[in-house]
């Protein structure tokens, strides 16, 4: 149950590459890292989930939290998610209507600002 996180800049976007399993044990590290990024001034964050093998509801909660945090500072959060396995989770929870989902980092960065409905 490993989680790997790596960050790099891509133009004015900050890309957080996530690998492994995001579950109740590893989600706190993802949360911390996302908070650090926003506190360090990142406003346009792309979370690349391409190498994520498993994402449970705690992980979804962290992503929802990050979305709210970024919206509060006029930032954006985009997700890169190409695997059917993960897309299914976003469809079942209908969170595919809340998150801006892209199939590659390039598409996410080029995609401009996509902001669906306002969250609480």
């Amino acid at each position: 149950m490993e989680l790997s996180l790596s960050t790099h800049d891509f133009g004015d976007h900050t890309v957080l590459e996530v690998g492994g399993e995001v579950d109740v044990y590893t989600a706190p590290r993802l949360r911390e890292r996302l908070i650090e990024l926003v506190e360090a001034g990142a406003r346009h964050v792309v979370v690349d989930l391409s190498r994520v093998e498993f994402l449970d509801s705690t992980g979804l909660g962290v992503l929802v939290g990050a979305l709210k945090r970024l919206r509060a500072v006029n930032g954006t959060l985009k997700l890169v998610c190409a695997h059917e396995r993960l897309l299914k989770i976003f469809r079942i929870t209908a969170l595919d209507r809340v998150f801006a989902l892209y199939d590659s980092v390039d598409a996410a960065v080029a995609g401009g600002v996509a902001t669906p409905d306002q969250t609480t």
């Binding site: 790997s4 790099h8 891509f10 979804l60 079942i92 929870t93 969170l95």
Partner: protein
């Protein structure tokens, strides 16, 4: 990687390496730290232990500061209470703050034996009076101190587990209701199992309320995010839902109200909930289903199994006030059964070897399989849980609630 990517920082999460030595076995040598500023007294302790051929590896520190630096690597500390950089029991307290699992024997002089008693009261395992011990006694005192510390720790851990279990039992009673049914109503077969890793219950919940001879209301849900507070919030949502249904609130208003309860009761705004609600018309044999981020129920008619085709609705607690329109599903023949579940049931591995999760499709295959047709409906929820665990290759990680309703 394309050009323009900055330097990547890679981190891999691993458990902290535990530096502390494992408890010694009966034949192992004890690692003891002697904290003693008087070289004469220190030499005497070494000689006593050597003379008795005690199986002890002795390290020596001459003040508290250097003792604290070494206290992680030993089984037992033999602590002089008259050190230069501390006095009396302060040294003992500092040692136990630095390593709460280490055994401590204190050394006192003849005139301050009362300090030895006080030290035992503050967490030392034993005290020895200088000049009143021989090597055999000293070796034995150290060994006993380590054993006693281990027994105390085990007793404390056991007590903590008991407290957690009692807390879980209280919450479980809140999460798992007594269905509110009319006489001769439909039959309900629920199964609930807490997850493998959790100290406390998670937030899976369900409820059943029959409001008229022909109307049955069902709820299955799961509080997600931020581990610790899930179970109490699950209880709040279940009871909130039950009150709304009993008050006769129209179906369309129930989920929005439940979402308001969630938002006002949650401690952390990363928390959300998935729920499936079903209103069964028992006369018409139809089910009106609303989903909020929850996997859809299954309808079973003999060997025929259907996944209810319901438009997914957004999880509760992310964007309040979203519409979640109902889908009405025919239940089929008079022997229908409706199966509701939380995602713990389908998140396990499809096989112990495969890197695939079971998923809704896997669940449908199992329920539609030949093996299942031999299982009586009342046994089905428990049987499914067993199947999921078997395929997972062991207990499931998350909580599971499974609810089967049949007339």
């Amino acid at each position: 990687m394309s050009a323009g990517w900055g330097a990547a920082r890679l981190e891999v999460s691993t458990l902290d390496n535990l530096r502390r030595p494992p408890p010694p076995g009966p034949g192992d040598r004890l690692r003891v730290l002697l904290v003693e500023d008087d070289p004469g007294d220190a030499f005497l302790v070494e000689e006593l232990l050597a003379e008795a051929a005690a199986p002890v590896d002795l390290a020596t520190a001459t003040d508290l500061a250097s003792a604290l630096a070494a206290v992680e690597d030993v089984h037992c500390v033999l602590l002089d209470l008259g050190l230069p950089d501390t006095n009396g029991l302060e040294g003992l307290r500092a040692v136990l703050r630095a390593n709460s699992t280490v055994a401590v024997c204190v050394l006192t002089g003849l005139e301050d034996e009362h300090l030895g008693n006080a030290a035992v009261g503050e967490g030392a395992q034993d005290y020895l009076v200088k000049g009143k011990v021989d090597g055999v006694l000293l070796g034995r005192a150290l060994r006993y101190a380590v054993e006693r510390k281990r027994a105390d720790d085990n007793a404390r851990r056991l007590r903590e587990v008991e407290l957690r279990q009692a807390e879980s039992a209280r919450l479980e009673r809140g999460l798992l209701p007594k269905p509110l049914m009319r006489s001769a109503g439909p039959r309900i077969f629920p199964v609930y199992r807490p997850g493998r890793h959790r100290a406390l219950l998670g937030g899976d919940f369900f409820d059943v309320v029959q409001t008229s001879p022909d109307t049955l209301h069902l709820l299955v849900g799961d509080v997600c995010g931020h581990g610790v507070d899930e179970a109490p919030l699950g209880v709040a949502l279940r009871v909130g839902w039950r009150a709304l249904v009993l008050a006769g609130v129209p179906d369309a208003a129930v989920l929005p109200s439940l979402e308001e309860v969630l938002i006002s009761e949650r401690r952390n705004d990363e928390q959300f909930a998935t729920v499936a609600t079903v209103t069964v018309d028992l006369a018409e044999r139809t089910a009106s289903i609303r989903l909020a981020g929850h996997p859809p129920p299954l309808v079973i008619n003999g060997t025929e199994v259907r996944l209810c085709d319901v438009e997914p609705g957004l999880v509760l607690g992310v964007i309040p006030g979203m519409d979640r329109p109902p889908t009405t599903v025919p239940l089929g023949g008079p022997d229908w059964a409706l199966l509701m579940y939380t995602d713990g049931l389908i998140e396990g591995w499809a096989t112990p070897e495969a890197k695939e999760r079971m998923g809704v499709d896997g669940l449908c295959r199992i329920v539609a399989g030949d093996d299942r047709s031999r299982i009586a409906l009342p046994e089905l929820p428990a049987w499914l849980l067993g199947q999921a665990e078997e395929r997972n290759g062991g207990p499931l990680a998350d909580d599971v609630a499974v609810l089967l309703v049949t007339p």
